[in-house]
């Protein structure tokens, strides 16, 4: 199948000087469910803004559905749908009118538009509230309305910037179900950004991990977990152990047979190794040898979080949420989301 997104050496430098995208290249085949995973400020939203013709790129080349971003932005606009990270709906208009207007802008009209709007209202469970002003919607309802608006014209490609942030677990599961269906049954290509590893793992067939404007890893979730090399052994050494002792520990852990990587995380030390369970006795002995108390030890199958940790040196959630690295989004919707 042909590639619906082709990005080469894309760079985006904001007027403020921030290099939000620092030379990324990737391709997304038509029909793919593609995920962009990264911490706050990684450049996910910026990428979507450039690809959806909102921001002028600094350099590099982008082709979407065969349309060049510079030469034919309108050609791109006709085949894409976009749900931005900030929830934007027109609060003065009813949910139904919001969707009708969006459809009009996409050059739809008449019965075709009307039945599509009703279908989406049904699907997003907004039928009962359809004639209420969107201002009165709850955050989750607004989010679903915005998603519906992105889909009115049955775009070939949808960009969804953290579509499930702010939804309760049931609604999230429903949106997941709907997005899978959209992708499988209608063949819509989905480009999704997320901070939920579970979401990426569940939905995306291909993933790129982006950090500080660069793609640090790409592949299917399974491939990426495979790259980790085995399972994760999570160790909690005595927190009062000196730096020297810790370093010695890490050195010796690395030297154990089958060990791929040793990473320091907030929770302790994470050792990635093949046949991890066999290493447990050796690790216990090793701690005793160095003279550091071992508070706990546990084994886990690798998750995308581990991939993230290995590639970027930080967990995707946790510190990122409080670091304040991201600018306060306009509209104020984001603030209430976490």
């Amino acid at each position: 199948m042909s590639d619906i997104i082709v990005v080469e050496d894309l760079v985006e430098v904001y007027a403020s000087g921030t290099r939000a995208i620092d030379g990324i290249s990737f391709r997304v085949p038509e029909g793919e469910f593609f995920g962009f995973l990264g911490p706050n400020g990684a450049g996910k939203s910026t990428t979507i803004k450039v690809l959806s013709t909102l921001l002028r790129k600094t350099s590099g080349s982008v082709t979407i559905g065969g349309h060049d971003l510079e030469q034919d932005p309108d050609g791109i606009r006709r085949i894409i749908g976009v749900q931005s990270q900030e929830t934007v709906v027109d609060g003065d208009l009813s949910g139904r009118k919001n969707l009708l207007f969006q459809g009009h802008l996409q050059r739809m009209q008449g019965p075709a538009l009307q039945s599509r709007v009703e279908e989406l209202l049904d699907l997003m469970e907004l039928k009962e509230a359809a004639d209420r002003k969107a201002r009165q919607y709850s955050g989750g309802m607004k989010r679903r309305l915005a998603l519906a608006a992105a889909l009115v014209h049955r775009p070939r490609l949808v960009f969804l910037d953290e579509p499930t942030t702010g939804l309760d677990p049931q609604s999230r599961a429903k949106v997941w179900g709907y997005l899978s269906k959209l992708n499988k049954e209608e063949g819509t290509t989905v480009f999704l950004t997320t901070q939920y590893l579970e979401e990426a793992d569940k939905l995306c067939r291909e993933l790129s991990i982006i950090d500080r404007g660069k793609i640090v890893a790409s592949g299917s979730p399974a491939d990426l977990k495979e790259q980790i090399g085995g399972e994760a052994i999570i160790l909690t050494p005595d927190p009062d152990a000196g730096a020297g002792a810790r370093e010695a520990l890490e050195g010796r852990l690395r030297a154990l047979p089958g060990v791929g990587k040793v990473v320091e995380a907030d929770s302790g030390l994470v050792v990635y190794a093949r046949q991890a369970s066999r290493l447990v006795p050796e690790i216990v002995t090793l701690f005793r040898g160095v003279g550091v108390r071992l508070d706990s030890i546990s084994l886990a199958a690798p998750t995308l979080d581990d991939v993230f940790l290995q590639k970027t040196g930080s967990r995707i959630r946790g510190e990122d949420l409080t670091s304040g690295a991201a600018p306060a989004p306009v509209g104020g919707v984001r603030g209430g989301v976490y």
Partner: protein, 258 residues
């Protein structure tokens, strides 16, 4: 085909702006109330003026109507800018810009809807004035020209508030600049008093104040009759403001939109 598409786009943007306008009856009520308040206050405040020697034979009511029409319009143009600044800042504009909608339609549809808004306000002011006993020397044709002047001036002046809005992306700034301009413009013009009642230095200032040309034209239509020179001057002033403010607005809009 492309022309049809463009016209449709303008229609949709216009339709949405209108739906928002008529969908908030409170705003319309306040506009009615504001017009009534100004008309009553000004005519009461200055009611004895028309007894003074040298005052035009018409009562103060006819004088005041011209002024209040443009006071309202000046205020209204701030709302025009506020709407677009809001859409810019909330990201709603971005939602529109990822569709193939014609970029020009986004502004044009808005401006048309604002024009309708200015016309509605004019109806409110003229209607109340009529009920209060104002007379219209030029009849229906003259009233239509009043609409044309008010709407033309409103559209031209909204180019200025839009320029401020697009340049600063801040509604506070739009309000501060708009309000700061409104009062001096009103009080150094012939909008509230006939020119002979103003101090000499102010009489000079009024000649450079666009509001003078607007209210003189509206007043002449209400009080005396069609005066070609006065009307021509008014439309020339509107044209001049239109070109100046809308070239900067378009230039700024182009930097926001791609």
């Amino acid at each position: 085909m492309s022309v049809v598409e463009s016209l449709r786009d303008v229609g949709y943007v216009f339709g949405r702006a209108q739906a928002k306008f008529w969908g908030s009856p409170i705003r319309i009520f306040f506009q009615l109330f504001g017009a009534l308040m100004f008309l009553v206050l000004f005519t009461q405040l200055f009611s004895k003026l028309s007894d003074l020697p040298g005052f035009p034979t018409a009562g103060y009511l006819e004088i005041a109507v011209g002024g209040i029409l443009f006071l309202n319009t000046l205020n209204s143009t701030m709302q025009s800018a506020n709407a677009i600044v809001d859409e810019l800042n909330t990201g709603y504009l971005a939602n529109i810009l990822v569709t193939p909608v014609k970029r020009s339609a986004i502004l044009l549809g808005r401006v048309l809807s604002d024009g309708v808004r200015y016309a509605c306000q004019t109806s409110i002011v003229l209607g109340i004035a009529f009920l209060m006993g104002a007379t219209f020397a030029t009849g229906v044709p003259g009233v239509l020209v009043i609409y044309l002047i008010v709407v033309g001036f409103g559209v031209a002046w909204s180019g200025l508030t839009m320029t401020v809005g697009l340049a600063t992306k801040s509604n506070e700034t739009v309000s501060v600049v708009g309000t700061l301009l409104t009062f001096p413009l009103m009080f150094t013009s012939t909008a509230l008093l006939p020119v002979s009642f103003l101090p000499r230095w102010m009489q000079t200032v009024t000649q450079y104040n666009p509001i003078s040309y607007m209210s003189d034209a509206a007043r002449s239509l209400m009080v005396s009759g069609f005066d070609g020179t006065v009307l021509l001057q008014a439309f020339a002033v509107i044209g001049l403001i239109l070109v100046l403010t809308w070239s900067s607005t378009l230039w700024l809009f182009r930097s926001v939109v791609r």
